[in-house]
Amino acid sequence: MAILIGRETRVICQGLTGRAATFHVSRMLSYGTRIVGGVTPGKGGSWHLDLPVFDTVAEAVAATRANASLVFVPPDRAAGAMIEAIQAGVGLVVCVTERVPLLDMVRVRQALNGSRTCLVGPNSQGVLAPGVAQLGVMATASARRGGIGIASRSASLTSEIVAQVTRAGLGQSTTVGVGGDPVHGLTLAQCVELFEADSQTEGIILIGEIGGSDEEDAAETIARLRLKKPVVALVAGRHAPRLRRMGHAGAFTSERAGSADRKIGALRAAGVLIAPNAHNVGLLMREALTPAPQGA
């Protein structure tokens, strides 16, 4: 079993008739993803890519029994689309839209409170269960089905690590892009919990970067759960150019965490294996999974 998605996942695409969505949904269909319809306000009743198009998410869910939605809507309307899917009770919402305004995401987070929806993103490359289903825009050629769960804040770096994990002779159970935006849905810590509970996953790779406190929170979860599965983490940005800082307010919030050193320190203290560099993540995971010789 993968996490978040599987063969039983029935997907609608919000914004299906757009150019980017048309291209990517075609790829996902040929990957074997069960896409059952789309939503474009004003185009209800028409067909696109041999899929029925509806005016609203509620209509699409009622007609297709969809349990997941992929949001492919431009930034000015993306938050509205996410909130519509949350209110329609869709279980999994994946948003790939980049550059969604931050206060719009605050409203989406308010809508998520008390709902039954798991939101992935925005600015996420999506969720991939190799050989099973693809809900997103990631490269799939080097992904192989296997036992490594990967959760990441960055898209192209994930593709690179997936290729490396495959070269190391390992496959992936699921790869999840939690998205690079400051305010987002699913966190790295929640991915860790899902992977720990997933029977297909044998090891977990976390790909973090400077800023925010997702990595520190994941470290706390790993320590609290006393994780049995090995976790390898990469934190990008140790040598990032220094950015301007305005005022002091950031230091009084969770922004205070956020340097690569703090993240690495927190993860290491939780027993996570830190990849010194982006090129040795796959090998480090393979070593972690190889049982130590008897009597050693």
Binding site: R27, P75, D76, E98, P101, L102, L103, D104, V106, R109, Q110, Q125, G136, V137, M138, A139, A141, S142, S152, S154, A155, S156, L157, T158, S159, E160, A163, G180, P182, V183, I207, E209, I210, G212, S213, L234, A236, G237, R238, H239, A240, P241, R242, L243, R244, R245, M246, G247, H248, A249, G250, A251, F252, T253, S254, E255, P276, N277, A278, H279
Partner: protein, 406 residues
């Protein structure tokens, strides 16, 4: 987008926040005239640089006459001021803000900031403002009090009454502070801000609260719904920031200049950060951070690669691309081809690692467009090659290739 103090104050004033009278000027003579126009006996002359701790590093001067204000302005304009929070090399002062000095019986602190983890804005406040607040909060967490904000139509609510109580205000002062918090919350939402900080806020003898300094950052992603703020950004772009970084921004590329000699082109911010780390770990020094956004066309990428080629400090170039669904390798190869053709005279070793969507086709494009380069199959091999090439005096393999091409 980070705004200057004078821009922030002008915007905050629209929400009813009290600010001292002031004018922004570009010369010592104008500073003196501005002070004369303001009247009053004491003036503050403030360098308009966007960084924390400006006052601690000599960016804020007091003057007892309009003439003295002119002298202080003359000393600031054209100077570079470096703080631990400004970009490398410091920030050059182009404008100063001349303000009437306000006598404060007490100074407060207030800020609204978006907190990532909780996913909502918070109001921060203290009954003692100033630049040393961070150190005080380090010793005593209670020095800063907070109230989470809830977005409502047209603004944001929070327990502002409770907040004024927790920072120890009472009576009329508490009532005016509560009013100020309300105004700041309304401004935060209406401006699509990511940060508003007013520090210090003067409490005057007659009980008014006046914002003596203001920091304001606007969410770039929300500029599409603020025509006036877009105009402000265009003004900043024209007048001030690094023209190279801005040219890149206009071409869907995030570019930050760095001090080294290895030009770096990567797609995606995370992979770009990881690539810089690898370059440094291999003993090299990056000349820039460059992240090609998924929306960049081959012509945008040509501009971006041109910026690297035009940097005279660059001794080798590393291209690390993992094509995804949104940005395939061949688009980037095409862009590199265009840039190299446009600058045939620039001779610099180029090391390229391509993987992911359309990597094979991209290699054909590079070959067809005649880009002299070394291909590496893993990013780490490419990094090592680029670092070695930057250290080498004459890249002989490249000279011969360029000779053939010419």
């Amino acid at each position: 987008m980070d705004l200057h103090e004078f821009q922030a104050k002008e915007l905050l004033e629209r929400f009813g926040i009290d600010i001292p009278g002031g004018r922004v000027v570009e010369s010592a003579a104008d500073a003196q005239r501005a002070a004369e126009g303001l009247g009053g006996r004491r003036f503050v002359v403030k360098a308009q640089i966007r960084t924390a701790d400006r006052a601690k590093h000599g960016g804020v001067r007091f003057a007892d006459s309009p003439r003295a204000a002119g002298v202080e302005a003359g000393a600031l304009i054209g100077r570079s001021i470096a703080t631990p929070f400004s970009p490398d090399g410091g920030a050059r002062v182009k404008w100063v803000y001349v303000e009437e000095a306000v006598a404060a019986a007490q100074s407060l602190y207030a800020a609204v900031v978006l907190e990532r983890t909780s996913g909502h804005p918070v109001m921060l406040a203290s009954a003692r403002g100033g630049e040393d607040l961070e150190e005080r909060a380090e010793r005593d967490a209670a020095a800063i009090q907070r109230a989470p904000l809830n977005l409502r139509a047209g603004g944001a609510d929070g327990d502002f009454g409770g907040l004024t109580g927790r920072i120890g205000l009472a009576g009329a002062t508490a009532a005016s502070a509560e009013g100020l918090f309300r105004q700041l919350a309304r401004a935060f939402v209406a401006l699509d801000a990511t940060l508003i900080e007013v520090n210090p806020i003067a409490l005057t003898a007659d009980g008014r609260l006046i914002a003596l300094d203001a920091k304001l950052s606007i969410d770039d992603n929300a500029l599409f719904r603020h025509a006036d703020l877009r105009a402000l950004r265009d003004f900043m772009v024209r007048d001030e920031s690094d023209p190279v970084e801005l040219e890149a921004q206009q071409h869907q590329i995030n570019y930050i200049r760095m001090a080294g000699n290895i030009g770096v082109l990567v797609n995606g911010a995370g992979l770009a950060l990881a690539t810089l780390d690898m370059v440094c770990d291999a003993g090299g020094r990056p000349a820039n951070f460059m992240d090609i956004r998924t929306t960049a066309t081959s012509l945008d990428i040509a501009r971006g690669f041109g910026l690297i080629l035009d940097n005279p400090a660059v001794r080798s170039i590393l291209v690390n691309v993992h094509g995804g669904g949104m940005q395939a390798c061949d688009t980037i190869a095409e862009g590199i081809g265009i840039a190299v053709r446009r600058r045939a005279a620039r001779c610099v070793p180029i090391v390229i690692c391509l993987a992911g969507n359309h990597a094979e086709f991209a290699r054909t494009v590079l070959y067809n467009t005649g880009v002299p380069h070394m291909a590496c199959s893993t990013p780490w091999a490419a990094v090592q090659q680029a670092v070695a090439s930057a250290k080498r005096e004459t890249p002989s393999w490249l000279s011969s290739l360029v000779a053939k091409r010419a």
